[in-house]
Symmetry: C2
Subunit: 217 residues, 2 copies
């Protein structure tokens, strides 16, 4: 990409950007990110809800998910609840609740429920201690496995076991594939951009010497 309309941005350039410009740009580099709402509850009963775009797959067996938390930014109550109760939920963000989900990133006091403030409904299922989001089409119960401190930038990585999954039958294929277009899930671009997904294709397991082929829809 050495054409005239291609920007070449060096490490020095990045260090000279304003904080906001740098935060926008670097947050966009990884590509589309998932939007998830983290539901938790403090030991004294205060419900908490925070949007995160840093959830990632760690492994399927055992089923593990991870997320990066910034203790100095908004979801600090959430992180404290996770550490104390070792239980939380992840809930997807269907297109219909994007504005509500984004609003959970505002700084509310710890004793204020983002569910109430942002117009989302807490729901409890199968005696799990943390609240799910009723409006979400994919709801996951998680139990804390461990927290790794990343000294390099003072963030914390939460690793958790998948305990329970609630999802509509219509979104699940015979082979375990869950279609996020069917779930109307939202993807995040950078810090504040929300996108819909449109399915292009699934591809068959790739083998050397065999041309790539699409799976039947």
């Amino acid at each position: 990409m050495h054409e005239a309309n291609i920007l070449s941005i060096s490490e020095a350039d990045i260090s000279h950007f304003s904080d906001r410009y740098r935060a926008n740009l670097i947050n966009c580099l990884s590509g589309y990110k998932s939007a998830n709402l983290v539901g938790s509850k403090s030991p004294d009963g205060h419900e908490n809800l925070a949007i995160v775009n840093s959830v990632f797959h760690i492994g399927a067996n055992p089923p593990l998910m991870g997320m990066i938390m910034r203790p100095h930014t908004v979801p600090r109550d959430t992180l404290q609840n996770i550490k104390t109760t070792e239980r939380f939920t992840l809930n997807n963000v269907p297109q219909s609740i994007i504005a509500n989900a984004h609003q959970t990133s505002a700084r509310y006091p710890a004793d204020i429920s983002e569910f109430n403030e942002c117009g989302l409904t807490p729901v409890y299922q199968d005696d799990f201690a943390a609240p799910f989001v009723a409006e979400s089409s994919l709801q996951i119960a998680l139990e804390l496995a461990e927290i790794k401190y990343l000294a390099i930038n003072k963030t914390e990585m939460v690793i958790a076991h998948v305990k329970h999954i609630y999802a509509p039958q219509a979104a699940l294929s015979n082979d375990g594939y869950l279609d996020h277009a069917c779930l109307q899930s939202t993807a995040v671009n950078g810090l504040d951009g929300y996108y819909q997904g449109q399915k292009v294709a699934r591809y068959a397991y790739a083998k050397a010497g065999v041309k790539p082929s699409k799976l039947a829809p």
Copy 2:
């Protein structure tokens, strides 16, 4: 979600699924993931290219990105190259190269270049030691910062510094936002589903007591 068409899948259910079913389902839980091609080169000059869907943002200042690598699966040559040379590239997957990018997940011998086998073009820029993908509209040079071993499931987390970014001017907003729809980037669903993104909206920085508002497009 206690309606009849909502599936309730417990931890015990998950443990009884077949490996393939479980891999599909659990890989889908986190939501849309980014598709990235990791370019690397061995000390003896063999180029390597592998698709990964586990790249995530770690922090903007310093600019850091992370990815989870499974040493027992395909990108083992890539991981070895990263450990040895401490340099690699991340390149987005525009819709036009989805099939090529997916094909890099096949098991090729270490001395075979996935660039050649999968019809993608290596390109070198600004004396960086690792190859970029010429067909990608977003190209990032990275330097290894550290590797954390996740004993919980024997994976390795690569943390790397952003050294250089190449991106088309047209995709970059005045505030540093890089639009992946403009870049034609692909999102991944699960292990093998590829999706296009369609922008819904950007939202203003959320404040308690202030209604969520969209940014001007």
